[in-house]
């Protein structure tokens, strides 16, 4: 664990991952390895292909070439729902809650995408079904308490303010009890106070649940804070630019160039 990539005991490994959308190569020959329990940051300018990497890991997109290994086994071609049940769950950059369901039901769904009783029992509501529902209810309320949404449990998810919707999405992803949690810009559109709350929440999840977390984020303060003892990967134009600890990344001239562009012959060449 730490600044160097693990050579053994990898929970997730991407090997030369590449995807083309028509003529656009969105992710180019990306390789990385992650050990269990790490907190990985994924940063890069807009359009660098960060979300595409998440979509590849969850198999929402099929890679053009390369391989994804989860706990040593290739998961290419496995459907997204199966990936989730294997233990990779995610949040979305543009929030994708179930808008007409209540807050509680959203979390509950994460708990039982695979129902815990048979279809017949669901029709006649045998004791086992009621018990499974009761257990789910308790777990869901624990999760809501964790993200501080307990008092909104019966509100319709679509009616929540933006910041709370983000928290709810995190709770829903955690409910699936994953081994790897993918957070896609959890702090987007938040002010400093909200960011601090969020950092506290995510750190608490990381420490209590022992998930491996990969996070895409633009708020540098959030990334630097959360990935303190871990690696940050920098993507630009679909390729891996570099990786390393937060201090290393911040002082890396290549990274600064990718983010801010560079002065060349008096012209400002943008790289985003």
């Amino acid at each position: 664990m730490g600044i160097q990539e693990p050579t053994t005991n990898k929970i997730l490994e991407l090997r030369n991952l590449t995807i083309d959308f028509g003529g656009v190569r969105a992710v180019n020959d990306l390789s990385l390895s992650i050990a269990p329990g790490e907190f990985i940051g994924l940063i890069g300018p807009n359009g660098a292909g960060k979300t595409t990497v998440f979509n590849l890991i969850t198999n929402a997109y099929q890679a053009t070439s390369g391989d994804i290994l989860f706990e040593g086994k290739s998961v290419r071609g496995v459907t997204p729902d199966k990936i989730c049940r294997m233990g990779i769950s995610r949040t979305f950059q543009n929030i994708r809650l179930f808008p007409h369901m209540t807050v509680y039901e959203n979390v509950e769904l994460g708990l039982h995408a695979q129902p815990h009783y048979s279809l017949f029992e669901s029709f006649v509501r045998l004791p086992r079904a009621s018990r499974a529902e009761r257990e789910a209810r308790q777990k869901a309320h624990e999760l809501l308490e964790m993200v501080n949404l307990e008092q909104h449990a019966n509100a319709v998810a679509g009616s929540l303010p933006y910041g709370l919707q983000r928290r709810l999405e995190i709770a829903r992803a955690v409910a699936a009890d994953p081994k790897i949690l993918l957070l896609d810009e959890p702090a987007a559109g938040m002010n400093e106070d909200e960011c601090n709350d969020l950092v506290r929440l995510i750190r608490q999840i990381h420490e209590s649940k022992k998930f491996t977390i990969i996070m895409i984020e633009h708020h540098m303060a959030v990334v630097m804070d959360l990935c303190k003892d871990h690696r940050i990967y920098v993507l630009t134009l679909g390729s891996l630019l570099t990786y390393g600890g937060p201090a290393e990344i911040q002082s890396n001239p290549q990274v600064i160039k990718a983010y801010l562009g560079e002065k060349k012959d008096g012209r400002n060449k943008r790289v985003s």
């Binding site: 969850t58 989730c84 179930f98 129902p115 029709f123 006649v124």
Partner: protein, 337 residues
Amino acid sequence: MSNQKKLLIFLGGTILTIVTLFVLVQIAGVGYFQNISILAGITLIATLGVAILTGYTGLFTIGHAGFMAMGGYLAAILVKEYHVPFILALMGGGIFAGFTSFIIGYPAFRSRLRGDYFAIATLGFAEAIRLLLNNVRAIGPIKLGGSFGYMDIPSLNVLCWEWLGSDGWNGVIVVLLFAVGTLVMTHMFVKSQYGKNCIAVCQDEVAAQMMGVDLMRTKMLALFISAFFAGVAGALMAFYYGYLTPGFFMITRSSDLLAGVVFGGMQSLIGPTITSIVLVAVPEVLRGINEYRLIAYGLFFVIVMIFRPQGLLGYVEMNFDFVRQLWRREPAKATGK
């Protein structure tokens, strides 16, 4: 809305319904009322099935008459030719209809048909079944009769238990029992973890899949259940009429079912329940201008879609919690403060 107000509306609605029913019986005569009740019960069973598929899972269907036909014909054959008990034949018809739904469901969901495209696929399926039944005169020794119809099916009044009497009410009681049973079962289903998966698929397919919901299984399940209830409804219809012709299962029957759900409301059981009963009763009472109902439906469809796209009672759930809360209203109010 306060609990007292809800109770008032509930009681008022109940009294109004009873009074309306009483007046209808007086005007139309008992026999006529019995027939309408049976038809309403049968339509309700099929509509609740469509509510699960269309209202909760978001898959529009104009083909459930096809599943009604499959269930109806099979149940009729089982009882008439093989003397299977009534209840078993009903279940058999339902399950058979459920399995035939895989014929259309698997390829349609495999190729990710949705919205209008799926609706048209189901329409084609139902028409194919109807035309098939129209042209098949006999299967071995079983004389289906093609377009002339399958005759001499034992009727509800004979099949239903003797102790219920034979003045026509026994058929009503049996059908209404089935209808209420279906309502209770579908209510439990949509509240269950399976039902919630269906709702999730309806609201955001991508998010549902990312949360681990198996899209294929969930959709097939919703289709199977709705086809099952359509099959049971078809079987009851066969025993009610005493004969079946492919003409019973035209596209208008499918669209009647869909209309019940669209008018009644998405993600609601109580809405489709009310509208399906109204949609059966009104054309029957206004027999003379029955054929014009399709024009009126079209108009209603447009009006509903403009002013209330989620349906009249969309997202309104049956909920009798307020009755329970009224019993212990003082503590409930104390905590509310």
